[in-house]
Every structure is written in structure tokens, then in C-alpha cells.
């Protein structure tokens, strides 16, 4: 799956420049189905890096597991979802030292959630690389009720918690791994702009 090219936006909108091997004390890698090929491409650039890496993969039914395991990473683990691999990912971060580099590939939600965990564990943001591939569905936080709506693909959308119609902003929180959704018809109740599909 090719890397997503996003149109330029405000500075808080995350960008995902892709993965390139960096020498370091240790490497931790995490990918979902759409990001698996990014790790395979990384391994082609630097086989030694992946040989010493801890790779965690969320296949979501995709066929890349065998190819990733064949790269012979130091540790290889598959899990069915982010919440399923989270205890292992947290333990890996807990055991990590300065010099550890984190490589993330796949959907924006996976990258965002994993980055938020890593930052909370103390990993410096400059030690994290990311490659966005696949769905551009957004994880949105309603600024009014604070509820998170996953997989938002339209603008505006309906908050799955409080039911307000929310405008999709590019304003992003690294801590929450979510974009900000703001009531679109607060001053003109019921007058809602035409629904559009979110573009990269």
C-alpha cells in the first residue's frame, strides 16, 4: 500500500514522512495491515536493524505476517487489535532505554495511539518515525462532551456520544491521539453544511 500524500495544513496536523533506518540502541516496530509493507521496505534498506528489532503486527486479515516473520526480527508478535497488543507494547516501552527508536506504520489512528503511549512512557518525540498508509479515517474528539468517535470519514459528522453535528478540524492532540470536532451549527441550529467525504 503506498504512502498517503496529505495536502499541507496547519502546523498541529501530524505529518508522516516515512521510515528510514537510524542506528540506535534498540528498535521497536509496530504496524497494522496497511503498514506492514512499510516495515518490509525498511528491512530491505537495513536488514541488521530489523534483525535486532522487536516487531509487533496487527494483521487484520492481511497476508503479510509470514513475510514479516521471515525477516527474522529479534522478537515477533502478532495480535488481533491495538488493545490486544497494548500490554505487550507498554511492557516493551517500560523496558526500553534512551537510544530506542520507534517505527510506526499504518493507519493514522494506530500511529496516533501508539505515539501517545510512547510519549507518555517518556520516549522523545524525535525518536519516533511514522509512515501513514491506508485509511484516512479520523479519530475525533468532541470538544463539547469530550467523547471520542472512531473512524470518521465525513465532514461534518454526528458525535457518537452527545449527538451534536461536528465540524472536522485539522487541530490535533498528540496526547489524546485525536482531531478536534466542533459543533458546526451552534449559532444557526439545524443549518448544517452539506456532508463531504474527508480528503487526505
Amino acid at each position: 500500500m503506498p504512502r498517503t500524500e496529505f495536502t499541507p495544513s496547519i502546523t498541529t496536523r501530524p505529518v508522516y514522512p516515512g521510515l528510514s533506518p537510524v542506528p540506535g540502541a534498540a528498535a521497536l516496530m509496530l504496524a497494522d495491515a496497511s503498514g506492514a509493507e512499510a516495515l518490509i521496505e525498511l528491512a530491505l534498506q537495513d536488514a541488521a536493524l530489523i534483525a535486532a528489532a522487536h516487531v509487533i503486527y496487527i494483521p487484520e486479515g492481511a497476508p503479510f505476517g509470514a513475510a514479516l516473520a521471515a525477516l527474522h526480527p529479534k522478537h515477533y508478535h502478532e495480535g488481533p487489535s491495538f488493545s490486544a497488543i497494548l500490554p505487550r507494547f507498554r511492557k516493551a516501552l517500560l523496558d526500553a532505554h534512551m537510544g530506542t527508536r520507534l517505527y510506526l506504520a499504518g493507519s493514522e489512528t494506530l500511529i496516533g495511539l501508539a505515539m501517545a503511549e510512547a510519549l507518555a512512557a517518556g520516549l522523545p518525540v524525535d525518536a519516533i518515525q511514522s509512515d501513514h498508509r491506508g485509511s484516512i479515517a479520523r479519530r475525533m474528539q468532541c470538544v463539547h462532551c469530550k467523547g471520542i468517535t472512531e473512524g470518521v470519514t465525513t465532514d461534518p459528522f454526528t458525535c457518537s456520544h452527545c449527538g451534536l453535528t461536528l465540524f472536522v478540524r485539522d487541530h490535533y492532540s498528540r496526547r489524546l491521539a485525536a482531531f478536534q470536532g466542533v459543533c458546526v451549527d451552534a449559532e444557526t441550529p439545524g443549518i448544517v453544511p452539506e456532508l463531504q467525504e474527508i480528503k487526505p
Binding site: 537510524v22 534498540a26 526500553a96 532505554h97 534512551m98 530506542t100 517518556g122 520516549l123 524525535d126 525518536a127
Partner: protein, 315 residues
């Protein structure tokens, strides 16, 4: 710069080469507080030449009753430290600038690793007091040649986090060992000889540390050199810079008001446009980029010098 006249309250030799000076308000009263790693600029009227040298504060940042500095005597230097060691006595009045910090702790760090070489221990003395007050995790590594030369031994608390590396006793500092296995979120601060700063940066890069986790303070004394002439276009002046004078000091001596802050090539405050340069600028600063240095279109007059036919500055 806001400077005020302070009274020398104590002069105490710490080692044969390093002396502690304490400054207090002549009227009593409290001085502005500062943060760990801050420095002050001391003005020294030395036989018609006004020298201004920056020294790290080694007193408690939360104690406004006075400012302490430690000065290492550099006999091969331009004369500032010699002035402090030979001409300053208790009761004298000297003009001292307000504290400025170009080497502050990054308080987003989870742990602070401080690495000092020789007199580079001074900014860490106040940082240590701040770290202890904030109860933050830290370790300090202090490299010196011998116990007799290690002024820091008199300034540092007796704590298990303070590690001494005396090369004279066969215990050379090894940044690779210090950086090994540090927890996520650790920041490293280095102050001392350029070779130590470079070594720490090199080891950190090999181990995969991001650059933003590294901090260093390389304060430079302005180097001496051959005299040269400079034209100040805006002031319409042509001035001579003597061998033991910095370009900035010569500009000041000519009565031209020029901006400055650290006077050691680190802060960027005195950056000056070069209008014409027929010759070679000896860039000594840590501020301008390599391409700026090569282009010869900017100069840091606090530390850099010139050789050649003509240098015209926009000042």
C-alpha cells in the same frame, strides 16, 4: 544590559587556580533570583579597558542574599580572570549584570544527567540545587585531573548521585558507560572542554539518542590575535582592535552601543551584518551555521576576529 554595583563580600581560594567571589548588595537588600545554569557578566575596569566576562552563578538560585561565582585563573588569557584574581578584594565595588540563563534545565525531562569537565562544573552547581529542590532524578559526573585541581569538590554536595572521575587516579570519564541504559526521557547536559562535549554528542548519536535530548554549554573566552582595523558604516567610524581586545570591546570602547548577552559566541545577540569583507573572518562562535561562516556575510563580534585589507560592518 541592566547592571548594578555590588560589593565583593568574600574572596575564597578553592584551589591554587580557582577562587570563589561573592557579591552582595551594598545597601543590604535582595538580588533577583535566577535558575540553575544562569550566568552573570562582571564588568572589570582594567587600566582604561572595560572588560566584561561571563561567569556561571554557583550559589543557590532561590537565595537572593548574594551571587557567588568561581573564577579560574587563565594566565594565557586576555586578562579578565587575572584581574579578578589579583585586583579584586573584599569591600570593592564591581558592576554585575542581571542573571541570564542560556543553559537551563529542560524540565520536561524525566531524568537529568550532568557531565562536567574541569571548571565546566560551575553551571551544574546551581542546577544541582534546583534539581534537589524540585526533587527530580539526576546524576552528575565530574571529570578533573586531580583532587587538588578539582574546585568542584568544595562546591558539590556529598550525595550518591555525584560521581567523581579523576584521570590522575586512573579513573577517566567514559561517556559511553554514562549514557548506557538511561531511562526514557533522560536529558544530558555537558559543560567543559570542546573535546568532551564532542565526545558526548558522538556517543549519543551512535546510541540513537535524539539531538533534542542533548544540551551543552561551550562558553568561549574571546581569543587573542593580531590587531586589525574595522569600519563601522552606520556610525561612520574606523576603529582599531588590539591583540587582547575583542571586536565587541573595541566597538564599545569607541562609544558605539552594540547589543550583546553572553559575550561567548553562544547566544546570537551580537550578530552583525558584514557589508564588505576583503580578507578572512576568523569565526570562533557556536551561533552561525557553517554556511554563514563560509559566506562571510555575518560576524559575531564578541569572539570573532579578522585578517585582511578591509572589513566594513553594518553598525
Amino acid at each position: 544590559m541592566t547592571a548594578r554595583q555590588l560589593r565583593v563580600a568574600a574572596v575564597e581560594p578553592l584551589t591554587p587556580l580557582v577562587t570563589r567571589f561573592r557579591f552582595e548588595c551594598p545597601e543590604g537588600g535582595s538580588l533577583p533570583l535566577f535558575s540553575g545554569g544562569a550566568h552573570v557578566v562582571v564588568e572589570m575596569p582594567d587600566d582604561g579597558v572595560l572588560r566584561r566576562n561571563a561567569y556561571s552563578l554557583i550559589s543557590d538560585p532561590m537565595d537572593g542574599s548574594g551571587y557567588d561565582i568561581a573564577v579560574r585563573r587563565e594566565d594565557a588569557g586576555r586578562g579578565g580572570s587575572r584581574f579578578m584574581h589579583t585586583r579584586v578584594a573584599v569591600g570593592d565595588l564591581l558592576r554585575i549584570g542581571a542573571p541570564v540563563n542560556l543553559f537551563a534545565l529542560d524540565l520536561t525531562a524525566r531524568k537529568h544527567v550532568l557531565i562536567a569537565g574541569g571548571i565546566g562544573i560551575t553551571p551544574f552547581v546551581s542546577q544541582l540545587k534546583q534539581l534537589q529542590r524540585l526533587q527530580l532524578p539526576f546524576e552528575l559526573h565530574y571529570a578533573a585531573r586531580s583532587r587538588a585541581e578539582a574546585a568542584g569538590l568544595r562546591l558539590l554536595p556529598d550525595l550518591p548521585q555525584v560521581h567523581l572521575h579523576l584521570s590522575g587516579e586512573g579513573k577517566r570519564i567514559d561517556p559511553a558507560v554514562i549514557l548506557q541504559g538511561q531511562p526514557l526521557g533522560t536529558h544530558v547536559y555537558t559543560c567543559g572542554p570542546q573535546a568532551l562535549i564532542d565526545r558526548v554528542a558522538e556517543v549519543a548519536a551512535q546510541k540513537g539518542w535524539p539531538r533534542a535530548a542533548l544540551h551543552a554549554e561551550a562558553f568561549l573566552a574571546p581569543p587573542t590575535g593580531a590587531p586589525f582595523t574595522v569600519t563601522l558604516a552606520r556610525s561612520g567610524l574606523k576603529i582599531e582592535v588590539s591583540p587582547h581586545q575583542s571586536l565587541l570591546e573595541a566597538i564599545e570602547a569607541a562609544g558605539v552601543d552594540a547589543p550583546w548577552l553572553c559575550r561567548g559566541g553562544a547566544c546570537g545577540q551580537c550578530e552583525t551584518e558584514v557589508i564588505a569583507c576583503h580578507g578572512r573572518i576568523d569565526h570562533h562562535d557556536h551561533w552561525l551555521s557553517d554556511s554563514d561562516h563560509a559566506a562571510n556575510t555575518k560576524i559575531m563580534p564578541c569572539v570573532s576576529r579578522f585578517q585582511g585589507a578591509e572589513l566594513i560592518l553594518d553598525r
